[in-house]
C-alpha cells in the first residue's frame, strides 16, 4: 500500500483496484482503513485513466533471422 501508484503498470493498478473495491465492499474495516482504501482506490482510478490517455503505441521490429533468399 505504501508504494507509489504512479509506478504501477496498468494491469497492476487494475488488479489492485479490484482488490480495493472488494475489500471496501466486504466491510470489517476500521473507518481509518476504509478511508485509506478509498483514497488509494481513487488514486488508482486516476492513474489508470492517465495511463490510458497518455499511451502511445510502440512498435519494434525484430531482426529478420533469414532474408527471403535464405528461407528454408
Amino acid at each position: 500500500m505504501s508504494n507509489d501508484v504512479k509506478d504501477l503498470s496498468f494491469e497492476q493498478a487494475v488488479g489492485e483496484l479490484d482488490d480495493t473495491v472488494q475489500r471496501l465492499e466486504g466491510g470489517d474495516l476500521s473507518l481509518a482503513e476504509a478511508i485509506a482504501l478509498y483514497e488509494r482506490g481513487m488514486l488508482l482510478v486516476q492513474h489508470c485513466n492517465d495511463v490510458l490517455d497518455a499511451a502511445e503505441l510502440q512498435v519494434q521490429t525484430l531482426d529478420q533471422p533469414d532474408s527471403p533468399s535464405e528461407a528454408r
Partner: protein, 428 residues
C-alpha cells in the same frame, strides 16, 4: 447482332439458297441455335476436362483466359474472377490441370468454350486433397480441440505480430491497437506471407517471438487474397509451430469466409487481421467506462461505510449520554435537595420541640422559684458570714450578722437572743 447487320439478312435473290424452302438464318440466329444446342446437352452442362494449360492470361478485370489442350485438340477456357478468387494455386502455362465447368458459346467470336468454375492442379498438386488430408491428420491428433486452446491475457503488455512489414494487414492491426489499447508494445516479427518460402519464414518468425519471455500473445495475420495466396497458412510446419508456441496465438488470415489450418490450431481464430487485433486487446473506451463505474462503486462503498460509522457514533453517543456523569450529578443534586429539605424539616421540628419544652421548664422553674413566695411577704435569712440559709433558730447566736432577702432586695440585720419559737416569729 441482328440489328447490327441488317444488310446480310438473306435477300432471297440467290436461287440456289432460296431453293431450300426456308429463309436463310442470320448469323446470330444460327449462333444462338448452336448455343442452345450446347447448353441443353446434359453432358456439357457439367463437364470435367483434363488437359494442359496454355496461353494463360489474367485480365485486369480478374477473369482468367486460357486454353486447355492435349496432343490432339484444344478448347478455349474462361474463368470468371469470382471463381478464380477461390483458387489455391497459381495456374500457369504448361501446368497440367483438371477443369470443371460447362460448355457454351461466345457469340461475338463464334467460339464455343469451357466456362470453368473450378480448376485444380492435376496429380500431386491437388491442394484440396492436401488440405483435407492434413486437416484430418491434425484433427486426429487433437490439435483442433478447444480444451487445448489457451485463454488470452486480459491486459497484454507485449503483442507479437507475425506478418509482412509491407502488408496492409499490419497497418490494420496497428491502427486497431492504437485506437483500442495503445498501452501495448508491438513486436513485429517480419515474414513473407505468401510464396514458396513463406511457411518456413512464418515458422521462424513465430519461433523468434516464442523465444522471448516478454511476449504475452502473438497475432499471425495476413490480408485477403486468393486461396492460393493464403496457402502458407495451410502448411503443416506452420500449424505445428503455432501448436508449439508458448504464447497464445491469434490467427487473422484473409476474409471472414477464409478458413486455414492455422485458424484451426490457433488459440483463437479471428476472421480478419483487424478482428484479430480487436480480440487481442481490451478497448480503451470500455475500460474508461469501467473505471468510471469503479469510481462510483468506490464512492458508494465509502459513503456506506461512513453512514455506518455515523450510525455507530450515534449509538455510542446515546450510550454515553446514558452513563454521563452529568446525569449522576443531576441525581445527586436532587438527593442533596431532598436531604436538605428533610434536614430543615427535622431541624424545625426539633426546634419547635425544644421551644415548647423550654416554656414548660420555664413554668416549672417559675413555679419552683422563691420569688413568688418572697412577694407574698416571706424573706430568706442567711448567715452573713457563710451565706447559709437559716432554717433553724439553733443556727443563730445573738450578735450574728444576718442577711435578709425580700422580694425586691436585701438588707442586713443582727440577731438578738431568743428562743426557738420566738426566733421564728422574730424573723417573720
Amino acid at each position: 447482332m441482328q440489328q447490327a447487320f441488317p444488310g446480310i439478312q438473306p435477300s432471297g435473290q440467290d436461287p440456289d439458297f432460296s431453293a431450300a424452302g426456308r429463309p436463310p438464318w442470320s448469323v446470330s440466329q444460327l449462333t444462338l441455335h448452336i448455343k442452345d444446342l450446347l447448353e441443353l446437352d446434359p453432358e456439357l452442362g457439367d463437364v470435367r476436362v483434363r488437359g494442359e494449360i496454355s496461353n494463360f492470361t489474367r485480365a485486369a478485370s480478374g477473369h482468367l483466359y486460357f486454353t486447355l489442350k492435349d496432343a490432339e485438340a484444344a478448347i478455349s477456357c474462361v474463368m470468371w474472377r469470382s471463381d478464380a478468387q477461390r483458387l489455391r494455386w497459381q495456374p500457369e502455362h504448361g501446368a497440367a490441370a483438371l477443369a470443371r465447368g460447362r460448355i457454351s458459346v461466345y457469340p461475338p467470336r463464334g467460339n464455343y468454350q469451357l466456362y470453368v468454375d473450378d480448376l485444380q492442379r492435376a496429380g500431386s498438386g491437388d491442394l484440396h486433397a492436401l488440405f483435407e488430408e492434413l486437416c484430418a491428420r491434425l484433427e486426429a491428433e487433437g490439435l483442433f480441440e478447444d480444451d487445448r486452446k489457451r485463454p488470452l491475457p486480459q491486459f497484454p503488455r507485449v503483442v507479437g505480430v507475425v506478418t509482412s512489414p509491407q502488408a496492409a494487414a499490419l497497418r490494420d492491426v496497428l491502427d486497431v491497437l492504437q485506437r483500442r489499447y495503445p498501452l501495448v508494445r508491438v513486436l513485429l516479427s517480419p515474414s513473407m506471407v505468401q510464396g514458396d518460402g513463406a511457411p518456413a519464414q512464418i515458422v521462424d518468425a513465430l519461433q523468434a517471438l516464442d523465444a522471448r519471455d516478454d511476449v504475452d500473445l502473438i497475432l499471425l495475420v495476413r490480408g485477403g487474397g486468393s486461396l492460393e495466396d493464403l496457402w502458407a497458412f495451410n502448411d503443416e510446419g506452420v500449424a505445428r509451430a503455432i501448436v508449439a508456441s508458448r504464447h497464445p496465438v491469434v490467427s487473422g488470415v484473409g476474409h471472414q469466409t477464409d478458413f486455414t489450418i492455422a485458424d484451426f490450431v490457433a488459440d483463437l481464430r479471428a476472421p480478419t487481421p483487424s478482428a484479430a487485433a480487436e480480440l487481442a486487446v481490451p478497448d480503451r473506451v470500455e475500460l474508461q467506462q469501467q473505471l468510471a463505474a469503479t469510481r462510483d462503486l468506490l464512492a458508494m462503498s465509502m459513503e456506506r461505510r461512513l453512514a455506518q460509522a455515523r450510525q455507530v457514533l450515534q449509538g455510542h453517543q446515546r450510550s454515553l449520554q446514558r452513563v454521563s456523569p452529568r446525569t449522576r450529578v443531576d441525581t445527586h443534586r436532587q438527593q442533596v435537595d431532598d436531604l436538605m429539605r428533610r434536614a430543615s424539616r427535622a431541624l424545625a421540628y426539633s426546634l419547635s420541640l425544644r421551644r415548647s419544652g423550654l416554656g414548660a421548664l420555664q413554668a416549672r422553674l417559675v413555679a419552683l422559684s422563691p420569688q413568688a413566695t418572697l412577694q407574698r411577704g416571706y424573706a430568706i435569712v442567711r448567715l452573713a458570714e457563710d451565706g447559709d440559709v437559716v432554717r433553724s433558730a439553733g443556727q443563730v447566736s445573738a450578735g450574728d450578722a444576718l442577711t435578709i432577702r425580700v422580694h425586691d432586695g436585701e438588707f442586713g440585720a443582727t440577731a438578738q437572743d431568743g428562743t426557738t419559737g420566738a426566733a421564728e416569729r422574730v424573723s417573720e
